[in-house]
């Protein structure tokens, strides 16, 4: 197929080796597509040069939505739809605090999780994107896409071997 991508996969056994390898390989001008690991490797996102996630912005915006929604809802209910006298006050605005707080937290949390699922493309019928399923067991898999790199396959292979990959494979993924 035309959309096939050719990958060079470097398999690493140890996360310390992997961290050093990522730095070294990026320095030699190779662009790494993604690294798949069985567990979160501390500092990996930094050596890969990833920017800090903007998920906190999403959380803030969802929280703000919940905040406004809660205030609007209570204002409408207690002022127009069904006015009530609470504690001798015909418009007890301080009583809005708990509901507003809860809806802010609820929408903030749900929105953040939802955003994360969408961005990461996580869904019940989804398939693992890992090019080598051993990355869910005990191996770290570094995927380098050939068409994104100027170096030849054999050059990339030798860079991977030099930086400590226990094996190097070629794989076509559609």
């Amino acid at each position: 197929m035309a959309s096939d991508k050719n990958f060079v996969l470097g398999i690493f056994d140890d996360e310390d080796v992997l961290l050093k390898a990522v730095t070294k390989i990026r320095k030699s001008g190779v662009k790494i597509d993604e690294v798949y690991s069985p567990f979160p490797v501390h500092g990996l996102d930094e050596v890969l040069g990833y920017k800090r996630s903007k998920i906190s912005v999403a959380a803030f915006l969802f929280g703000l939505t919940g905040f406004s929604l809660a205030l609007l809802m209570q204002f409408y209910m207690l002022k127009f739809d069904w006015p009530m006298i609470i504690g001798g006050k015909n418009f007890a605005s301080v009583t809005f605090v708990p509901v507003t707080f809860e809806l802010t937290v609820l929408l903030g949390a749900f929105g953040m999780v939802g955003t994360f699922f969408v961005i990461q493309d996580l869904k019940p019928w989804g398939k693992s994107k890992s090019p080598d399923l051993r990355s869910t067991d005990d191996k770290h898999v570094m995927a380098i896409e050939l068409s994104e790199n100027t170096l030849s396959t054999s050059e990339i292979e030798s860079v991977l071997k030099d930086s400590g990959a226990s094996e190097v494979n070629l794989k076509q993924i559609d």
Binding site: H42, G43, R52, G87, G88, A92, V94
Partner: protein, 425 residues
């Protein structure tokens, strides 16, 4: 950079003495203004105070003397709370087996050295001015024949009487201090001998202290703050005061860590550690606001006269009304907005700013707890309150820095030091 001990320089000592001297000048000025009816802020208030002067004189000490006692008591409660929180901070870090905080733990622990002087000051102020501060110390309240007889306060006398009050006060502070001394000496022995056994021993003491703290932090706040408004009570008050102390204590810890860091001490501490301290400040500020709202909301909602009167006193008076809003702005709105982003928790300048703001804010919180109950509508805020706080602050910092200069700033053989060095968030 690799200083092991903090050097308490003559220059720093001089600055602290200057702070105290400035405080004394402000106190004298404040008292003179109070006596001349100037009241420190505006003549309208002064006239009002003079009008009530005669009534107050018949009831006890002169208005200005009451205000002096109230100012002393606010600072007694505030600083002993900060000292207690230093011990609490150390203990919950040990109990939770926290590793990141290992190099800074001796700084909050040093706060606890304020406790002996704090207790003496509390006792002295209670013996001199207890009658002015605490309405329940009036004997007529318990005498059925007296026109002053108050059945509600009479019903509380099994708990709220002077001997038991004093016993409680002494027991609380002495036990806190004994815990502090025991854990301090274990930590110093660890410096000499190393090994993991001291860490485990401190952890046991820390856990025991937390149990004692859990109860006494609440009961001491009932005694020292809530009993001033004798009729009124709130089941949330203990936690509310504890959270106020907690934020102040964490803010004081951050200020001292940043100060020492900027002086070149604590080479191990970096922005990751500050970030965690900042999170504590941020989180506990929200916790305080949560308790504040929870307490206020139920009284507001239920609108029962004997409950609402506590807030009514603070709402109706022009002076307290302003502080009432300032309290929420300084202690919740500003820390919440400023410390929300990651970067602001990692930079000294934002942290210092917020710490100063919340320290002032929580002082105001205790001011609002004490002053309206003691002074009723004659309360004031002026040179005197600022001055007396400066004197207390100077003495507190002097004791803390002096005790820090006698030990290693960073526990040498703490088993978590390695973990703290690699702390990364």
């Amino acid at each position: 950079m690799t200083e092991e001990k903090y050097i308490f320089t003559p220059k720093t000592k001089k600055n602290l003495v200057m702070l105290a001297v400035a405080g004394v000048i402000a106190v004298v000025l404040g008292i003179v203004l109070m006596q001349s009816g100037g009241h420190g802020h505006g003549d309208a208030h002064g006239a009002e105070a003079a009008a009530h002067g005669a009534e107050a004189a018949a009831h006890g000490s002169a208005v200005w003397l009451k205000r002096v006692m109230a100012g002393l008591w606010i600072n007694n409660v505030f600083f002993i709370g900060v000292a207690l929180i230093g011990l609490f901070f150390w203990s919950f870090n040990y109990a939770a087996q926290a590793g990141w905080s290992a190099p800074i733990l001796r700084i909050p622990m040093a706060f606890s050295n304020w406790l002996p002087l704090g207790l003496i000051l509390m006792l002295v102020v209670f013996f001199v001015g207890g009658h002015d501060i605490f309405h329940w110390t009036h004997e007529g309240l318990y005498d059925k024949a007296s026109p002053e007889y108050d059945p509600i306060i009479d019903g509380k006398k099994e708990y709220l009487n002077t001997p038991f009050f004093l016993i409680r006060m002494v027991v609380y502070v002495v036990v806190w201090y004994l815990f502090a001394k025991k854990m301090q000496s274990l930590s110093l022995k660890e410096d000499l001998e190393g090994g993991h056994s001291y860490w485990h021993k401190i952890r046991v003491y820390a856990a025991l202290f937390l149990v004692f703290f859990g109860i006494t932090s609440s009961t001491s706040a009932w005694d020292w703050v809530m009993s001033i408004d004798t009729h009124w009570f709130s089941t949330l008050f203990g936690w509310y005061s504890m959270s106020s102390w907690l934020v102040s204590g964490v803010a004081m810890t951050i200020l001292l860590v940043v100060y020492l860091k900027e002086k070149g001490y604590l080479p191990m501490v970096n922005s990751n550690h500050l970030h965690d301290l900042g999170k504590f400040l941020f989180g506990f500020s929200i916790f305080w606001a949560y308790l504040w709202v929870s307490q206020f909301l139920l009284y507001y909602y239920a609108n029962i006269p004997e409950e609402v009167v506590y807030y009514w006193e603070r709402w109706e008076n022009g002076l307290y009304h302003g502080f009432w809003f300032l309290n929420i702005i300084l202690n919740f709105v500003l820390p919440f907005l400023v410390l929300m982003t990651r970067d602001s928790k990692r930079h000294n300048i934002f942290l210092k700013m917020v710490c100063v703001i919340v320290l002032a804010g929580h002082w105001i919180d205790f001011y609002l707890g004490v002053e309206p109950g003691v002074m009723k509508e004659n309360g004031g805020f002026g040179f005197y309150e600022i001055g007396i706080t400066m004197i207390y602050l100077s003495a507190f910092l002097f004791i803390v820095l002096n005790s820090l200069s006698k030990i290693r700033l960073v526990p040498k053989n703490h088993p978590m030091l390695q973990e703290s060095e690699h702390h990364h968030i």
